[in-house]
């Protein structure tokens, strides 16, 4: 009996979390008059809202921009954060702990303080309205360093020693021995970094004004706020297009998503 109540509650709650998306999907397909209809079905489904979005803004270009930026940052974070994490965990050198403290400290600095001077820096470098402003400030992530350091510490010394005896350089050890043994860490950092950079809106809003460089969430934001989407359905259609890639990947890899976020949450 208790179980039945549990299932009912869970299903209701699950509905609360999923139904808005279903509603949004169907509202994006409906003409303006039927927007407030409660039922997710309609006789007049059409893709005209989506067509309107494609006509008004270069959202495909924005998608590619987001893909390029997020992939570049994720790749760079994986490489550089793991290098630093390796050095901090497996090499002994003077000042190692000091550097680690500094890295911990940077994680506590809220973005509110750094965003203005960072913007000024981008202006002085002439990087505004270029991919550089989007990618370079995110190339190394303190969080990534932390995670890798944690994980690499647990790698048995024996494997590393064996590789050293074979004459492997430290970089070689990192990429040829440590990486293959750290797949969970790599996956975690990759997923978190990719997801966070994909969804990032504030920074692109600050440094990018040129439409051809805008990222997808940024473009959809400006589209919805700027009033270009004259009809509700069109705005919702653009939101659907923004959500689609993430939702699709999520449905396939959801276990890894959840595991990654928990992993980092628990470490906190």
């Amino acid at each position: 009996m208790k179980k039945a109540i549990f299932y009912i509650i869970l299903s209701l709650v699950a509905l609360i979390f999923i139904y808005p998306f279903i509603w949004m999907a169907s509202a994006a397909l409906r003409p303006e008059i039927e927007i407030s209809s409660l039922s997710p079905f309609s006789h007049n489904f059409s893709i005209s809202n989506y067509k309107a979005v494609l006509e008004k803004i270069p959202i495909g270009r924005a998608f590619l921009n987001s893909l390029f930026v997020s992939s570049s940052i994720t790749f760079s974070v994986l490489v550089f954060s793991s290098i630093v994490g390796y050095a901090l965990s497996r090499l002994k050198f003077r000042g190692r702990e000091l550097i680690f403290m500094v890295i911990l400290f940077t994680m506590m600095i809220p973005f509110q303080i750094t965003m203005i001077p960072l913007y000024v820096l981008m202006v002085k470098f002439g990087w505004t309205d270029t991919y550089l402003a989007l990618i370079v400030p995110g190339m190394i992530s303190a969080f990534g360093i932390l995670l890798f350091r944690q994980y690499f510490k647990a790698i048995p010394q024996a494997i590393i020693d064996a590789a050293r005896i074979d004459g492997c350089s430290d970089l070689g050890i990192l990429f040829r021995i440590v990486w293959p043994n750290s797949i969970p860490a790599l996956v975690t950092v990759a997923i978190i970094t990719f997801m966070n950079t994909w969804n990032e809106v504030l920074w692109p809003l600050i440094v990018i004004r040129k439409q051809s460089i805008m990222t997808m969430p940024q473009m959809v934001t400006l589209f919805a706020v700027g009033g270009q989407a004259e009809q509700v359905g069109v705005g919702l259609a653009s939101a659907m297009m923004l959500a689609a890639p993430v939702v699709i990947i999520y449905c396939i890899f959801q276990r890894h998503f959840i595991a990654s976020m928990v992993h980092t949450g628990v470490k906190g």
Partner: protein, 291 residues
């Protein structure tokens, strides 16, 4: 041995050097520059004018700044308890032997991965006065329409509810993980003492979940102070500045009015307040275990 040590030093420094450069450029320099900016008036294109503590004076008298803090407080006061209660309850239910647990977990977690922009646009429509889903539902069952985003008293709470919907999935999963680390022996001991379900919940479960709860509170607080895209898209800070968040205000000062010095001052003030709030919260929530 000595040669190895020296070599280790060299390689070590080489490997962390990319980060050192990165840190100096993108963390150290901005921090220093921010500190300098605080004492100046600057609009990016003109010269920087030294004004001593002028920005601080302006801050103390700036009604909008204090209002943005108040708005954030309203947000947190609704968002945090709501989130903890819902996440605790659901996590506990999920912790029982439930079939399709994976499905439920995935469902709750869905809003977490989706972009905040999508959630905001969706909920803006749900909350819409005339054509929104919520008001349509309400009028169908004969209740009056609610001015979710138009009333100065309801706008921020509405945003808080939306934020809870978006994030609670993460905390459900975190609590679930926490619950699974509680040793069964503790419950057995409680059973031997004749404890009821409710007593077990409050005297075993909650205290053991304390580290997770601290984390939930701190993460939510940081999120609350970083609120930007929701008010930016949904309300523009209105109605009558009731949804003006700290970051939105800093953004306006910096990028609408080009008051770089003042915006930097605001940034520091907010950071300071975050630190104080988090320290107080840790003290409060942590003492709970030991009472």
């Amino acid at each position: 041995m000595r040669r190895r040590a020296i070599e280790n030093n060299r390689v070590g420094y080489l490997m962390v050097s990319p980060y050192i450069i990165f840190f100096l450029l993108f963390v150290g320099y901005p921090l220093m520059f921010s500190l300098v900016l605080v004492f100046h008036k600057w609009n990016i294109i003109g010269p920087m004018r030294f004004i001593g503590f002028g920005n601080f004076g302006q801050l103390l008298h700036d009604a909008l700044f204090w209002k943005s803090l108040g708005n954030t407080l309203i947000f947190l006061v609704i968002h945090i308890p709501l989130q903890i209660i819902i996440a605790l309850v659901i996590a506990n239910i999920l912790n029982q032997r439930i079939a399709a647990r994976g499905f439920f977990r995935a469902a709750f977690f869905l809003p977490v991965v989706v972009s905040g922009v999508v959630v905001t646009i969706l909920w803006q429509q749900l909350y819409s006065q005339e054509t929104g889903l919520f008001n349509t539902l309400l009028s169908r069952i004969g209740l009056p329409k609610v001015p979710w985003l138009i009333s100065t008293r309801l706008a921020m709470p509405s945003i808080a509810i939306m934020a809870t919907w978006k994030n609670v999935g993460l905390y459900i999963v975190l609590f679930l993980t926490g619950l699974q680390t509680i040793p069964a022996s503790l419950y057995e001991v409680a059973d031997l003492d004749g404890a009821s379900e409710v007593q077990k919940f409050f005297h075993v479960t909650i205290p053991m979940l304390n580290p997770t709860m601290v984390m939930v509170v701190i993460l939510s607080t940081l999120g609350g102070f970083s609120l930007f895209i929701e008010p930016y898209v949904m309300t523009g800070g209105g109605p009558m500045n009731s949804t003006l968040s700290c970051v939105l205000y800093i953004y306006k000062q910096a990028f609408y009015f080009n008051h770089m010095g003042y915006a930097a001052t605001l940034g520091f003030a907010v950071a300071l307040i975050i630190m104080i709030v988090v320290i107080i919260q840790r003290k409060l929530v942590e003492t709970e275990i030991y009472t």
